[in-house]
């Protein structure tokens, strides 16, 4: 469908532009401003050029947090995308079950992020938590996410999968519901197996929504802060100190605005770069180069 060429359409976009630019461009300029200065106090600062960037790029702990972040986001996408699609496929297509399923599945999405951390902190504590105490006492497996780094990772991953798989489910379900019944009828006439139907009809038709799900999950998992902060505080040691937890340590707790600014710009560029690559790649997958 060709779109009408009309530059007056800008008038319709203008309010969005103004309101987003107000909250995006001014703070971004301020951060850029921080990143090239050494700030001693109000009105006292010295221009230092790229010093903070060089310092940050030579910071080993930043790289550690970055690899940890990549591992985390990678695992998140690897688990949540297939699981979400699977659950969406299992959901009923019509009847009273639909609203019940939607309401139940959407619930974790509407819980404030630090409540999520709180829920899982209470749930997995080795003394009072159902999961923690159950592992230790019922199954006899020592489990303590405040002490063991692997347990901490398992806990954070469980929380993340529990929290965000519903988003993938909802989007995948929306995509599935939008496929006309005629496609399935054609598949049945051809005698296609369930797997073939999934691979050649459902998956290609879900490309659009899955792109959104994939990008949202990548961005949000890469920027995760409140939940692991409440749950583990980045510990034990630094084992769950993800990129934004480390960033807050530098920027707000040590109040180093310069390095913090440089760090966040590097952070921003990484997310931007990967989102752009994924966006382009996912756009291409559905157009011609698919299996």
């Amino acid at each position: 469908m060709e779109k009408w060429p009309n530059n007056r359409a800008w008038l319709l976009v203008l309010p969005v532009f103004v309101i987003v630019a107000f909250s995006a461009i001014i703070p971004l300029m301020t951060v850029i401003n921080y990143s090239v200065q050494d700030i001693f106090g109000p009105g006292q600062s010295v221009f230092v050029g790229t010093e903070w960037f060089r310092e940050m790029l030579a910071n080993d702990r930043l790289y550690e947090a970055l690899w940890r972040q990549f591992l985390f986001s990678g695992l998140v996408l690897l688990i949540e995308m297939p699981l979400g699609i699977l659950i969406a496929l299992a959901m009923p297509k019509k009847g009273w079950g639909v609203p019940v399923c939607l309401v139940t599945i959407a619930l974790p999405l509407l819980i404030p992020w630090n409540t999520i951390g709180t829920i899982w902190m209470i749930f997995t504590r080795p003394d009072i938590g159902l999961f923690g105490a159950g592992m230790n006492n019922l199954l006899g497996i020592p489990f303590d996410h405040t002490d063991n780094w692997l347990d901490a990772w398992i806990t954070v991953m469980l929380m993340e999968v529990w929290h965000w798989t519903p988003l993938v489910v909802l989007l995948a379900y929306a995509g599935l519901r939008a496929i006309p019944e005629a496609y399935y009828q054609a598949a049945r006439i051809d005698g296609a197996s369930a797997w073939a139907t999934f691979l050649y009809i459902q998956l290609p038709k879900m490309r659009g929504v899955l792109t959104i799900a994939f990008l949202l999950r990548f961005m949000d998992s890469f920027l995760i802060y409140a939940e692991p902060f409440v749950l583990t505080g980045g510990g034990p040691g630094n084992s769950t100190t993800f990129l934004s937890i480390y960033l807050v340590k530098i920027a707000l707790l040590q109040f180093d605005l310069g390095p913090g600014g440089a760090f966040s710009l590097i952070y921003f560029v990484i997310v931007l770069l990967f989102s752009f690559i994924f966006y382009q790649a996912l756009q291409r997958v559905g157009k011609g180069e698919k299996v």
Binding site: M1, K3, P5, N6, A9, L12, V13, P15, V16, I19, V20, S23, A24, P27, L28, T30, L89, A90, M91, P99, L102, V103, T104, L107, P108, L109, L110, I111, P112, N114, T115, T118, I119, W120, I122, I128, L130, N137, L170, L171, A174, G175, A178, G208, L215, D220, Y225, A226, L247, L252, G260, G261, F263, S264, Y267, F268, V271, L272, S275, Y279
Partner: protein, 267 residues
């Protein structure tokens, strides 16, 4: 046979989904001393003390009121500005449309942790600090792009013949848009409102940074349960349970809309 397996799988998933929430509900109905003294799968002596604490202390319950106020403001603002913009993106070709669309999306990618401080400076400069509108505006940063993105998907599903017919019939653009077009995509508007509500309701960092006392949301107040005697788990759990309630209510109200929106929308 296959249908049965699916249902069993779903039921197991739902049980796993509800378990952590159930556990918090369990904790919220017990006193802190009881929680620390014994491990129990269900509360034996049910107490509503934790809830009473919250409902009788205005510094607690105002947190819920504040959060609801700025979330509703944000949802209204986001929808109002996003509707015409999404229409423009779905119908017209204009200079810089693709770049503009991607730029909007990039605003979801900035680490809020550091933007918190410039936000604080910006809003204190214009004198909006500690007001509901400040948080509502700040949340527009990530909600408006999302709203445009979702609405554009729904609008592209409406055939353009409808627009053309209406314009030939002499409808002005605003009249056509409000009386014909928006009702056509109301399921999409419902889904979008749901997502705006959701992302504004759950966000903590910006909301906490931009408020002091007057507009402080409940999620920020929850950190107060750590007192000199240690963490009050019962109170924390009760506050947590209460933060789930508004969200659960919203899903309940939009459930049919959602089911319909998901069936029609191409998102």
């Amino acid at each position: 046979m296959k249908g049965k397996k699916k249902t069993i799988g779903l039921v197991i998933y739902f049980i796993l989904l509800m378990m952590p929430v159930y556990w918090m509900l369990n904790m919220s109905l017990r006193s802190n001393a009881d929680i620390l003294a014994s491990f129990a799968l269900y509360p034996k002596d049910i107490t509503f003390m934790n809830y009473m604490n919250i409902f009788t202390d205005s510094s607690w319950y105002m947190g819920y009121v504040n959060a609801v106020i700025y979330v509703v403001m944000n949802t209204v603002i986001s929808l109002t500005v996003a509707l015409p913009a999404a229409y423009a993106f779905s119908r017209y070709q204009f200079v810089g449309d693709k770049q503009m669309f991607f730029w909007l999306l990039t605003n979801r990618m900035a680490p809020a942790a550091v933007f918190a401080l410039p936000f604080f400076q910006l809003y204190s400069t214009i004198g909006l600090l500690d007001t509901h509108i400040a948080v509502a505006l700040a949340h527009c940063l990530f909600n408006v792009p999302l709203a445009v993105w979702i609405l554009e998907g729904f609008m592209s599903g409406v055939p353009r013949e409808i627009d053309e017919t209406a314009f030939i019939d002499g409808y002005s653009f605003p009249r056509f848009f409000i009386t014909i077009f928006i009702p056509l995509i109301r399921a999409g508007v419902g889904v979008t409102a749901f997502f705006c509500f959701m992302f504004s309701w759950v966000e903590l960092l910006l909301a906490r940074t931009l408020t002091v006392t007057e507009a402080k949301p409940i999620s920020a107040i929850m950190t107060r349960t750590i007192s000199a005697t240690g963490l009050d788990f019962g109170l924390l759990a009760a506050a947590g349970i209460l933060t789930i309630v508004p969200g659960a209510m919203v899903i309940w109200f939009v459930r049919n809309h959602m089911a319909k929106g998901f069936a029609l929308g191409r998102v």
